[in-house]
Every structure is written in structure tokens, then in C-alpha cells.
């Protein structure tokens, strides 16, 4: 069974790009263009991995992270920040906040899927077996 990935991203082009890359590699995706929708889908679908932008309208990626960690069902889902916040210190700040991974934009499509696979494997050692 292919992994299911939730993408929370308000930028349409960035969303299209990630969805396209994951679909062509056989993943199922759920799309949310804001944090509230993302939280709802996370609780409802319990995906294998969550990709989350940080600068989101209303509720930002950090709030999404905190609220997810408060939810017993969704708490253990790995969540990776994919963000254009790429100044010195941003990676450390986000990882310290509790994200399981950090990928800066522009993403590199040639390795993006491999990065997702690595995150899935490290979170679920039995994944794919």
C-alpha cells in the first residue's frame, strides 16, 4: 500500500509541484491550503506524513505543529517543514520547535521524493515491508 501524504501549502504553484512529484512516484496525497483545513484532514485521514509550509494565512505552520502534537491520534505522524524561510537560523529554529524535517524552497525535485521516503522510513521502520 502506498503511503499517504498530507500537504499543507497556500501557494498554488508550490502545491501543484509537490503533488505532481508525489503522484508520479505513486503516493496518495491530500491537499490543504490553510492550517485549519490541514488539521482537519490530519485528524480525519491520519496520513503517514505531513508536509507543512510555515507562512500560512491565519494559522502558521508552527501553530499547526503545536495543535497536531496536542491531538492523540495525529501526534505521532511525522511532520516536515517545507518553507521559503531559509535565512540563517530558520532550519535550527524549526527543528527545535518539533518538526521532524526541514526542506527549504526552492525544493529540488530530483531529490524531493527521496527526502520524503527517508522521512517515512525513519518514522516507520516497517514502512513498505
Amino acid at each position: 500500500m502506498s503511503a499517504r501524504i498530507l500537504i499543507i501549502e497556500d501557494n498554488e504553484a508550490a502545491m501543484d509541484l509537490m503533488v505532481y512529484l508525489l503522484h508520479t512516484s505513486g503516493y496518495r496525497t491530500f491537499s490543504a491550503e490553510n492550517g485549519a483545513e490541514g488539521l482537519r484532514l490530519a485528524k480525519q485521514e491520519l496520513p503517514d506524513l505531513i508536509v507543512c509550509d510555515i507562512n500560512l494565512p491565519e494559522m502558521d505552520g508552527l501553530e499547526v505543529l503545536w495543535l497536531l502534537k496536542e491531538n492523540s491520534g495525529a501526534r505521532s505522524i511525522p511532520i516536515v517543514a517545507v518553507t521559503a524561510l531559509a535565512m540563517v537560523g530558520d532550519r535550527e529554529r524549526l527543528l527545535r520547535a518539533g518538526f521532524d524535517g526541514y526542506i527549504s524552497k526552492p525544493i529540488d525535485p530530483e531529490i524531493f521524493v527521496a527526502q520524503m521516503e527517508a522521512l517515512l522510513r525513519s518514522a516507520r521502520p516497517n514502512f513498505g515491508k
Binding site: 508550490a14 509541484l17 505532481y20 508520479t24 494565512p57 521559503a84 535565512m87 524552497k105 525544493i107 525535485p109
Partner: protein, 429 residues
């Protein structure tokens, strides 16, 4: 006399505490303490001379001379706290004539609210007039005859005389220094805020530049990975050019952000003849698609042959900023570009003779309470707008700075719900 002797005799020390209030504060105590120690040394030396009557007279003269030569107010009190001797600096600093102080309790010089504490400290000091550790960071106050309080720095030395132990206080009025320190602190705070604003801006700028590049570079890559299908050799070559140029752009952006952190840029201006019609047309070209998508009508009202001598790049950047804002903050209606020459009013030496570029929109307008802030760097008026309107909130700030550099100005009128008109006026040369 050896060092050891006079140290013992003078028992010189500096104790901040007699005058009350305790606050963390660090000051140039070193030099001050040195003066106090020197004074104590001389006092002690003088007292050594005071063995004979003649010697005592000479010593008295020297002692008074010494007191008068001190840069600070010197107040010598006995164990009852009564003032025995003062110098004329004391009269100046505290505003009392000498006769009103001699024989009085020195509490007269201490603000009311500290007097209890002060007496206790003084008694304590007389019981044990030994060298104490100087309190680091104490803030003390004196009070003048007219009731004004002022910050002081005090150092104390016990004097052993035939009349008993006296204490010499050397009191410095540090009002001016406090004022400078406060001004400096405020300045530092301003600088900190400015730096924070700059960092926020740079981070926001970095974000805004990377977001479109993510799609440009990303989809160029998916095509080059042939995910949607095969490519002809020409397509592949051209896409590679797109990708390498995109990556180049990304590296320039990164360099620029680094540079901006280090340098506050200097704008180079080179003036040339610019046809206003051309300048406006170039800007309209940039925003036409965005305007069309929103269904906004673009109106150009520029008379032929108006030429301005200015920096073309800066003019373009200003007009583009004004145009982008107009489109960004307008949901429906029109954006109008208008150019007019303006004449200095007849018979006046002041006023402006120049060329006025207006960008008139039918957008959301600017609330009166926000109008003073719109030219401030790095801030859109309402941060909750940030996502829906995008941008770093830098356009107007940069535009106004550029306009000033060009010898011109930017003004605006705006009404909430009706729209805004921004006017760039440049001098005619």
C-alpha cells in the same frame, strides 16, 4: 611616609550607600575613587603635621585649600551627623549658603524618603568606619535647598582627628551624566528596533523571492526529469538554460540578502532625458496582465513629449511600486496613470515647478490613522493583510527615498473605500 602608613591613617574607602536608594548601575567609579583616595591621603598627611600649634595653623590652611580645590562638594560631618566643614562647591551644588549648613544635621541634604535609611547607614558607618566593599551599582540622590532632587555619586573617608572621628563625604552631581546615559539608552533602543525591522524585512524578502523561484525551478526540473513525457533535444537544451538562469537568479538573491545585511546600500544616480510616455508605458507593460486578471481597467493619460531629466531606473522603480500597489489594493474599477507639468505659483519664489506623475486607483484606500505610517520601512499598514496582498511592505519606503534622491517627493490622497492617488513630483531641469 610609606604606603602602608597612610592607608591605615586615612582608612580611605568609598562607600556608596549613605545616601540611600539602591539600584543596579555601573559608573566610572575608578577615577572618582582615585580622587577621593588622594583627598584622604592629603588629609591624613596634613593631620600628621598637626602636632604643633604653628603646624596646626598651617595644616588648617592646607586642609581648607585642599577642600576648596576638590572638584566635588566636600561635606565633613561628626559622629552626630552634624556638618562641621564644607567647601564652596557644596554651596553651589546644594544651593545653601555656608552658614545655613554648618552645625546642621547633614540629613538636610538627603531626600526625605531616604532620611531614615540614611541615619541608620550613617550610624552603622560610625560604629565601624572600616574599609568596606564598595557597592556596585547603587543609585543615590541628594536634595537642593529648593527641593530639587538630583542623582549623586558619593565617596566617604573616615578622618581620625583630636575631636574624634569625622567623615568626609565627597559628593558629585551626576545629573548631566544621567541625562546622557538616558539619551544613549534611548538611542540604542531605537537602533535595536531599526535593526529588528531590517532583519524582519530581509527574512520576508528572502521568502518572497524564493516562493516564485520554487515554481520556476521546480517545474523546469520536472520537465527535465521527463516526468510528463519525452523532450526533443532543443526543448531539453532550452529548459536547461531556463534552469541555469533560475539558479543564477537564486544565487544573486542570496548574495544580495547577504550584502544587505552588511551594507546599508548607496544608490547611484545617473540622469538622462526620459520620455514620460515611455516610462509609463514600460510600467503598464509590467502590470497589465495582473490588472486584466482582476478585471481592472488601466487608463493612461500622458500628453506627448513631456520629457524629464532624471534617473530612468529609479523612476521606473518608483512608478512600478506605485503601480503594483494600485493594482494590488484594487479589487475592481481602474488604475489611471497621469502625467502633468506643474508651474510654480505666479510671483512666488517658493513652490515647485516640476513634473507630476499620478497613479490613481479605485481601491480599498488608506485609513486616516494609517496614513502617517505608510512610508515607514518594512511595514504594510495591516499585518493581517500580508498574505492576501503579499509583499514586504517596502515599496513606498524605497520609492520615497528614491524620490528624495531624485530631488522630488511623493504625496498622496486617500479615502477608505474610494481609492488612493499617489503623486510623484520631480523637478524640471
Amino acid at each position: 611616609m610609606r604606603l602602608r602608613d597612610w592607608e591605615l591613617l586615612a582608612g580611605s574607602n568609598t562607600v556608596h550607600g549613605l545616601f540611600g536608594m539602591i539600584w543596579p548601575h555601573s559608573i566610572e567609579i575608578g577615577a572618582f575613587a582615585a580622587v577621593a583616595i588622594l583627598a584622604a591621603v592629603l588629609i591624613a598627611a596634613v593631620s600628621l603635621f598637626a602636632k604643633s600649634a604653628a603646624g596646626r595653623r598651617r595644616a588648617d590652611e592646607k586642609f581648607r585649600g585642599l577642600l576648596e580645590s576638590a572638584p566635588d562638594a566636600m561635606v565633613i560631618v561628626n559622629s552626630a551627623g552634624e556638618i562641621v566643614l564644607i567647601n564652596s562647591q557644596t554651596e553651589k551644588v546644594f544651593g545653601y549658603p555656608r552658614r545655613e549648613l554648618l552645625g546642621k544635621n547633614m540629613d538636610i541634604l538627603v531626600p526625605h524618603r531616604f532620611r531614615d535609611l540614611h541615619s541608620r547607614h550613617r550610624n552603622g558607618y560610625f560604629t565601624e568606619p572600616r574599609v568596606r566593599a564598595m557597592g556596585v551599582g547603587l543609585e543615590l540622590f541628594g536634595v537642593r535647598k529648593n527641593g530639587d532632587e538630583f542623582p549623586v555619586e558619593i565617596s566617604l573617608s573616615p578622618l581620625t582627628t583630636e575631636e574624634g572621628v569625622l567623615v568626609s563625604s565627597s559628593i558629585r552631581d551626576i545629573t548631566d551624566r544621567k541625562r546622557f546615559e538616558t539619551a544613549l539608552r534611548e538611542k540604542n533602543l531605537e537602533l535595536e528596533n531599526a535593526n529588528r525591522a531590517k532583519d524582519t524585512f530581509l527574512a520576508s524578502m528572502s521568502h518572497e523571492l524564493r516562493t516564485p523561484l520554487n515554481a520556476i525551478l521546480g517545474f523546469t526540473s520536472t520537465l527535465l526529469m521527463k516526468l510528463p513525457g519525452p523532450l526533443t533535444p532543443d526543448q531539453e537544451k532550452q529548459l536547461q538554460t531556463v534552469r541555469s538562469s533560475g539558479r543564477h537568479l537564486l544565487s544573486i538573491i542570496n548574495d544580495l540578502l547577504d550584502l544587505a545585511r552588511i551594507e546599508s546600500g548607496r544608490v547611484e544616480i545617473s540622469e538622462e532625458e526620459v520620455h514620460c510616455g515611455d516610462a509609463v508605458a514600460a510600467v503598464v507593460d509590467f502590470i497589465r496582465i495582473a490588472a486584466e486578471e482582476k478585471g481592472i481597467t488601466v487608463v493612461v493619460d500622458v500628453p506627448d513629449e513631456i520629457v524629464v531629466r532624471t534617473d530612468a531606473r529609479a523612476l521606473h522603480q518608483i512608478l512600478l511600486n506605485l503601480a503594483n500597489n494600485a493594482v494590488k489594493f484594487t479589487a475592481a474599477g481602474s488604475v489611471t496613470f497621469r502625467v502633468r507639468t506643474t508651474e510654480r505659483p505666479e510671483g512666488r519664489v517658493t513652490g515647485f515647478s516640476g513634473i507630476e506623475f499620478s497613479v490613481i486607483d479605485t481601491g480599498i484606500g488608506i485609513r486616516p490613522e494609517d496614513q502617517t505610517r505608510i512610508f515607514q520601512a518594512f511595514s504594510q499598514v495591516d499585518s493581517s493583510h500580508k498574505r492576501s496582498y503579499g509583499g514586504a511592505g517596502l515599496g513606498l519606503h524605497v520609492s520615497r527615498r528614491l524620490a528624495e534622491i531624485l530631488g522630488g517627493s511623493i504625496t498622496f490622497d486617500s479615502e477608505v473605500g474610494k481609492g488612493s492617488t499617489f503623486r510623484l513630483t520631480l523637478p524640471r531641469r
